[in-house]
Amino acid sequence: MGSAEQISQLTIDGLMVGALYAVIALGYTLVYGVLQLINFAHSEVFMLGAFGGLFASRALVPAGATPSGLTSAGLVLFGLVAGALAGAAAAYALERCAYRPLRRRGAPRLAYLISAIGASLFAFNLAGKEFGRQSVPVPDLFTNGTVVTVFGAEISTQSLVIAGTALAMLLAVDHLVAGTRLGQSVRAVAQDAECAGLMGVDVQKVIVVTFVLGGLLAGAGGFLYAMTFNASYTMGFVPGIKAFTAAVLGGIGNVRGAVLGGLLLGLVESFGGYLFDASYKNVIAFTMLVLVLLVRPSGLLGTRLGRPA
């Protein structure tokens, strides 16, 4: 292991990617909390959101130009909002077309899984067809050269913006779930949907809100991810699996658990990739998941939150 500089560099890189994993993981965890269902098409919501933000920011930035200062910040915000809206639309459509009809019929759990995989393949192939099969970059919103030094770690403005935005979103969701009336009803449905319904909570509305909330986060996260790693129709799969891992690691159904799991996974990957070999990143991440689950089957912060809706 190298010097303190490298340790802080790897920590910061890990936290940046980890925060993005956490943002996506919230979508898995929220839906699982409410419906006891793993939304396997969530990774495509992430991908579609990234393209939404990408096209929006492309429309405003002429090719080759690198805007500066406030313009950049404004463009990031615009891309984020567009990405979030695209993600939310995709998540809503998913709930409406792939899950709601099944729920109406009281279909078995397995049907949801098949439906999710089908919807995921559909979105994946449609995106490949529509957006091309090459990676597409988000316009350069920041000159990469501007670097801030924190404990010897060199950080580009872009990394700072990404990590900052992701953390702000995580805090906002935590507040939403823990401290608002809407969050209260989400938690009530998660705990016991039938009972919550009897107490006057509109269960259907809560389910839609949960999906849309997860979609907003995944879409905005997708845009942030594409700023560094470019967008492509295949981009959803790996981060999706990682975020799912993060959600399970933290204890699926638990909002703070998902954040903890995401950050931890990012750190483990960052250090693991440095110490061993970058190609082992995924191996290391999943080994850690298995080890944690052997010791704590419900994840780090996990308690079983509710019964099937």
């Binding site: 970059p137 670097v147 190609s279």
Partner: protein
């Protein structure tokens, strides 16, 4: 898509309720016939028709390199049909291998199964070439790669394989010479993508560095989106130059990661990154000043290739030739020169038997082959990204002169 669906003869449709159904069936059959690339022996006007196969990535992450080559083949065929005065017509039939070895044999088999294909241009990438060539050799179907540069490919005993591009031993030696004498690197970080192409190139670069007395570190990384920890590793290593042996979509992300950490050494890659897509995906600001070596010249700035460039633009609706377009054009013309000699009686066997003695001036170089299928005498060029454009600095041999 094999087999040839028959188009129903007009006038045989039944009236009444069956009519719409028959119409749909007829429509589908016609679409099928149009999509199926199996022509008869002769076209409508009765002249003999030969098919030239193309195998390369027409979809997938690095498809641009395949498309460049495909357009080059198309240009050569179009030109030959229009002005060649040939006693036969030529047509291209494409087979997409996505640039991955798993798809190689399937793509090759598709061309082999088509009896009208007399020769193939491709495969474009090294890994699919290694996977496909056993099939071509078994059936004696000539394949001429415009761009598969892995050095070992011509040592594996394939009997029908030729390439019009120099192997990576040539490119690696050139790159190492450039790193040692022009970049004046003290220590080079050689990174490959662990592919057939990447490992071949990185091995050749490292051999050249060793001979030039330049220290180097070797590392391999499977294509991944996240190069941040790899970039930290490179920074910690203290190397003053990075040479990446892999394709542009990964080189773009690696460049991005290095620049975001403020890496100030030289950043280089090989012919797999030699495409404008690299600049697009890395971002013009990040790509600025990075260097690319290629055993290929840039047809767009080569006065000797002006005719080719204008034909290419005409055939491909205004597009400029890209990396491997010129090589694919030359490979096709080499095949056409053999067909011209053999006339309408040409067969797979006779084309393969005569190809070794090809000797004609191509747009990229004079096309003559060694016994093992390698093209004779090649130059390595260095490109630099300047103001968001790839610019040829010149051949390594002229750049290292004092």
């Amino acid at each position: 898509m094999t087999g040839s669906p028959r188009t129903p003869r007009p006038g045989t449709r039944r009236a009444g309720v069956l009519r719409p159904v028959a119409g749909v069936v007829a429509g589908l059959a016609m679409v099928g016939a149009a999509l199926t690339a199996c022509g008869g022996d002769s076209n409508e006007s009765g002249t003999k028709e030969f098919l030239i196969g193309f195998q390369g990535p027409l979809s997938g992450e690095n498809q641009q390199l395949g498309i460049n080559a495909y357009n080059g083949v198309l240009t050569a065929i179009d030109l030959a049909n229009r002005t060649g005065g040939l006693p036969f017509t030529l047509r291209i039939v494409a087979s997409d291998d996505q640039g991955v070895p798993e798809q190689g044999p399937t793509a090759a088999q598709k061309l082999i199964d088509n009896p009208d294909v007399v020769a193939v241009v491709g495969p474009v990438f090294s890994a699919p070439t290694k996977a496909s060539e056993p099939l071509y050799s078994q059936t004696g179907l000539l394949s001429v790669s415009p761009s598969a540069t892995n050095p070992k490919l011509t040592d594996l005993g394939f009997t029908s394989f030729y390439r019009v591009i120099a192997p990576d031993t040539v490119q690696g030696a050139g790159a190492a010479e450039y790193l040692a004498k022009v970049v004046k690197a003290k220590r080079v970080y050689s990174l490959d993508d662990r592919s057939e192409y990447g490992t071949g190139l990185s091995g050749a670069v490292e051999l050249g560095l060793k001979q030039a007395g330049v220290a180097y570190a070797h590392d391999g990384i499977n294509p991944t989106k996240d190069y941040t920890s790899q970039a930290t590793k490179i920074m910690a290593d203290g190397a003053d130059a990075v040479y990446y042996s892999g394709y542009y979509s990964d080189f773009a992300l690696l460049t991005k990661a290095l620049r975001s950490k403020g890496y100030d050494g030289a950043i280089l890659s090989g012919d797999g990154s030699n495409d404008d897509q690299y600049i697009r995906q890395a971002g013009a600001a990040n790509a600025e000043g990075t260097l690319i070596t290629c055993p290929c010249s840039d047809a767009n700035t080569d006065p000797a290739a002006a005719g080719f460039v204008s034909e290419y633009k005409k055939v491909n609706s205004g597009l400029k030739p890209g990396t491997y377009s010129g090589e694919a054009y030359d490979a096709t013309n080499a095949i056409v020169s053999v067909l011209r000699k053999l006339g309408t009686g040409a067969s797979r066997e006779s084309v393969l038997a005569d190809f070794g003695s090809v000797d004609f001036p191509g747009v990229t170089k004079r096309i003559r082959f060694e016994r093992n299928g390698d093209v004779r005498g090649s130059t390595v060029y260095v490109y630099e990204v300047k103001d968001g454009q790839r610019v040829v600095l010149g051949p390594v041999s002229s750049l290292v002169k004092p």
